[in-house]
Subunit: 406 residues, 2 copies
């Protein structure tokens, strides 16, 4: 049911990155569920992780390892989140890192673990360790597509984005993969996303670039309002391109590279929404005219989280009263409803807080029948704005989440 | 699909209150959709209304009239919320009040209007005015049951609760009716609830009693997290019982009366949840061990609003990881997950932040298959607690809300 997703495009190799995938039977046999991403020496690595207090064991270990040294390997499994698993979970994640380190002749803390899947089950360490040699044997710089498949959970399609850009006469590649597609309301991170470039960037600068890119992309989407325990987004800069190394954000190449990385992240984030559980429509919620970006964001998420708004989109019902009700309950102090304007695409439905005189239901219905819809709210009290992307709420959302563990 | 709701009990008349109902064809013909509640002179009246900034026209008018004088009539219509209707909506609500005032020989501002139904459509004033004589002709002190039917929207059953209590040798009656059953996440009010007693209570004391009762009842429920534009809860004290008038909260009868009114409100609030749109289960979320009641409430609502938790309840899947994830994303500063305990009914699932050693999936499954389930979370950081009632999230929720306007 993914909404207007094109087949996986060509994912350009990034010099200094190799990927290998294996089927380790973690949840089900025969499914690619184990991915290794190898990083050449000399690269920088930035990462952001979930703000959920119940963060998973691999998040804790990855944060710790990243603070100690530059990583050489990312080890990703699906089928089990290793979350809510207490001390045993930490031990299990560390064991997997050690096993890969031994195979790859590096140190344990040069491996960052990532897990996604069901919460609360013990990590099947043996299966993962058993699958590692096969994944290592497959390491290749053309492994991105297999890896995009290998990190999928309830995703119906693999998600990848790739760009080649020219910076100061050098060709620079940015390639990323991501997975959704439920428990998606990222907070300072996403579900899982791995982005690499062959540009060379100092670690602190790379972290700043990632923060900026994530704020404009993964932190602007919601499928169901639930922030995952395992969210993580990693950005690697291998420094293998001919471009000189970017050592500070005032470097003229920084803006160009960061914009390209942000573009890749926005596209990956939108892919997650387009493949949101049960999604039949892709909705852009744009809130303008706010006194601050924060209040625009609050209103946008109140709309994007409302089950009543989302089921109306599913039904192609221009039930704009539900959108207004969501705006009204967002808790914006001193909101003057008489100044509010609401458009669905270019159809003005509400002006000055009431139904626009020239609005006809048929025009609203024509917009609602589309698979891509923009909700545009103007609060009429300032010049700030925010955009959030979401999807509708369908029977399939309930089916997928009622059947998830069976 | 209402969960364990008994047939409407006998609703004892309240001396000084008469109710009349009519079918005014507001949304569909042949349906009781207009209710008048007549209040004898000398009564006190307290009310709380929605905190949604997009409050409906009748809410604005009712607030204004209530501030001016003691009401003699409540005028309630279903089938149209008169919300998002701008200046015309205010005019329409006032017109209806005037029409009833003329029939009943009182002043316009002695009528409080209440509307519920679809948002954003013009109120069909002519139909309402045309239905008033019939509703007036039917005024009767035994009209509570008809009125409980007359205020229903997507409710599948009428909701009413009635008590007779003895206070200082006098028999006092408390009778109330309410309607849900979607866009339910009351904030200082409920959907629509009307409660009356024949006790005599000074208005300010009655307002305090209502605040207390609502805080423990309607402000503790959620069906879908959406606060309505039309929420209102009215409490009337007619003073017709033999009990002496309660003039201050230190009066010995105050606590007894207020507890009885709170009990009636809690039962009505639970009825709204039991009949929540698509509900198949009634869930009590109890959070203990918090540093404040507010943080317990925040955690309880994070669980009660999570579509992932709610679909797991629908599926009878003891997917407790989703409950932990909701606790973790609630945004409680300094939450130590290693101190968290989770029970489903009396089955301990999580202890010290991880799966309890003695937990077996079968025991969780046995609880999840029940139609009434208590989620008990202990945060292990204080002595405060909060309870919230909610329901599960089913295919029927999507169906009801996708088909609502068709």
């Amino acid at each position: 049911m993914a909404v207007n997703i094109k087949p996986l495009p060509q994912l350009h190799p990034v010099r200094g990155i190799r990927l290998g995938t294996a089927a380790a039977s973690i949840k089900k046999p025969g499914r690619r569920d184990l991915v290794i991403l190898e990083i050449d020496t000399g690269a920088s690595c930035a990462a952001v992780f979930t703000q959920n207090a119940f963060c998973a064991a691999p998040v804790t270990i990855a944060r710790k390892h990243l603070a100690q040294t530059a990583p050489r390997y990312l080890l990703i499994n699906t089928g089990n989140a290793n979350a809510g698993t207490g001390a045993q979970g930490l031990y299990d994640a560390a064991t997997c890192c050690s096993a890969l380190a031994q195979l790859a002749h590096c140190k344990s803390n040069q491996v960052l673990p990532f897990s996604t899947g069901v919460i609360g089950e013990p990590l099947p360490v043996d299966k993962i360790v058993h699958g590692l040699p096969d994944a290592c044997a497959k390491l290749s710089d053309t492994g991105w597509e297999d890896a995009a498949h290998g990190i999928m959970t309830t995703d119906t399609v693999p998600k990848g984005v790739s760009r080649k850009i020219d910076i100061q006469g050098s060709t620079v590649t940015v390639t990323g993969i991501a997975k959704g597609s439920g428990m998606v309301c990222p907070d300072m991170a996403t579900m899982l996303a791995f982005v690499a470039t062959d540009a060379g960037v100092r670690q602190e600068v790379l972290q700043q670039c990632l923060r900026e890119a994530v704020q404009a992309s993964f932190n602007r989407i919601t499928v169901d309002g639930d922030t995952s325990t395992n969210d993580a987004c990693v950005l690697i800069a291998t420094g293998k391109s001919a471009l000189v190394r970017i050592d500070h954000i005032a470097h003229p190449a920084y803006r160009i590279l960061c914009d390209a990385i942000t573009e890749v992240c926005v596209e990956l984030a939108q892919l997650i929404v387009r493949d949101g559980e049960g999604a039949t429509k892709f909705i852009t919620v744009r809130v303008n005219g706010g006194a601050s970006e924060q209040e625009c964001n609050t209103v946008a998420y109140a709309i994007a989280h409302s089950p009543l708004v989302k089921t109306a989109f599913f039904a192609s019902d221009p039930n704009w009263g539900r959108i207004l009700a969501a705006v009204g309950r967002a808790g914006i102090t001193g909101l003057d409803i008489a100044r509010i304007t609401l458009h669905l695409d270019d159809v003005c439905i509400v002006r000055d807080g009431g139904r626009a005189a020239d609005y006809e239901e048929k025009r609203g219905l024509d917009v609602m029948r589309k698979s891509e819809i923009t909700v545009n709210v103007d609060l009429g009290r300032g010049s700030h704005a925010s955009t959030v992307w979401t999807c509708d709420f369908s029977y399939d959302y309930v089916r997928i989440n009622a059947e998830y563990r069976t």
